[in-house]
Amino acid sequence: MTVADVRLLTSPFDPADELAGFAASHPAAGGIVSFTGQVRCDAEAGGVEALELRHYDPLTLPGMGALAESVLGRWDLEGLLIVHRSGILFPGDPIVLVAAAARHRRDAFAATDFAMDHLKSESWFWKREKSGGSWRWIEPRSEDFEDIRRWQ
């Protein structure tokens, strides 16, 4: 039975290290799909100086675990990794890493895509951004709801 590795981290992590370990743990998987989300650093992003993700302990990690279970129930995977940051992040910092290992690559693609859509729109994180020295809370985007509607 495939067991997911689901972690909520309050300090920086290295997606390359995590992926190397994940690939090594799943030698029977022919394919591994990953998504890495990182804090953008560019002028167009409106000069975001920092980003803060807040979570609520009693709900956030359990919710990520429930999402992982639903992904494992839906696709035939050899392994599933979900790592998400909380706390203050700076441009270039990794925010999230999802990776799915499967015998067949279609399963790995769909599982990663589904997990990201649901992490983004349904997991218990609140985000605020700092620019020009002041913080402001980010409201949900309508695209996020459209993204998950694809799976319903």
């Binding site: 998504f35 989300g37 990182q38 953008r40 993700l53 807040r54 609520y56 302990d57 009693p58 709900l59 359990p62 998400h84 940051r85 925010i95 999230v96 990201m116 992490l119 983004k120 729109s121 349904e122 997991s123 218990w124 994180f125 609140w126 985000k127 605020r128 809370w137 980010i138 409201e139 949900p140 985007r141 996020d144």
Partner: protein
């Protein structure tokens, strides 16, 4: 005899703090009535969900409140990933 209120996301700015102790009240409405009107209105908003002791309620009707309960007010999530 107290309740702990937890304010997530932008509710923290309205409350002026991330959490607060308030006296135990009979009902959630009694809790709201004892707060500043602006904060109470923000907490009553349709899109704000309530979790009691880490259990998400499906709607707002009448959780039974006990001494030491933690009430978390959860505005819509804004996600982390790009």
């Amino acid at each position: 005899m107290a309740l702990r209120l937890v304010f997530l996301g932008r509710l923290e700015d309205i409350a002026g703090c991330g959490d607060r102790e308030v006296p135990l009240a009979d009902s959630i409405d009694a809790v709201f009535d004892a707060l500043e009107p602006e904060l109470a209105a923000a907490l009553r908003a349709d899109r704000v969900k309530l979790a009691v002791n880490g259990v998400l309620l499906r709607d707002r009707d009448a959780p039974i409140l006990r001494d030491g309960d933690e009430l978390a007010f959860l505005p819509p999530v804004s996600g982390g990933a790009p």
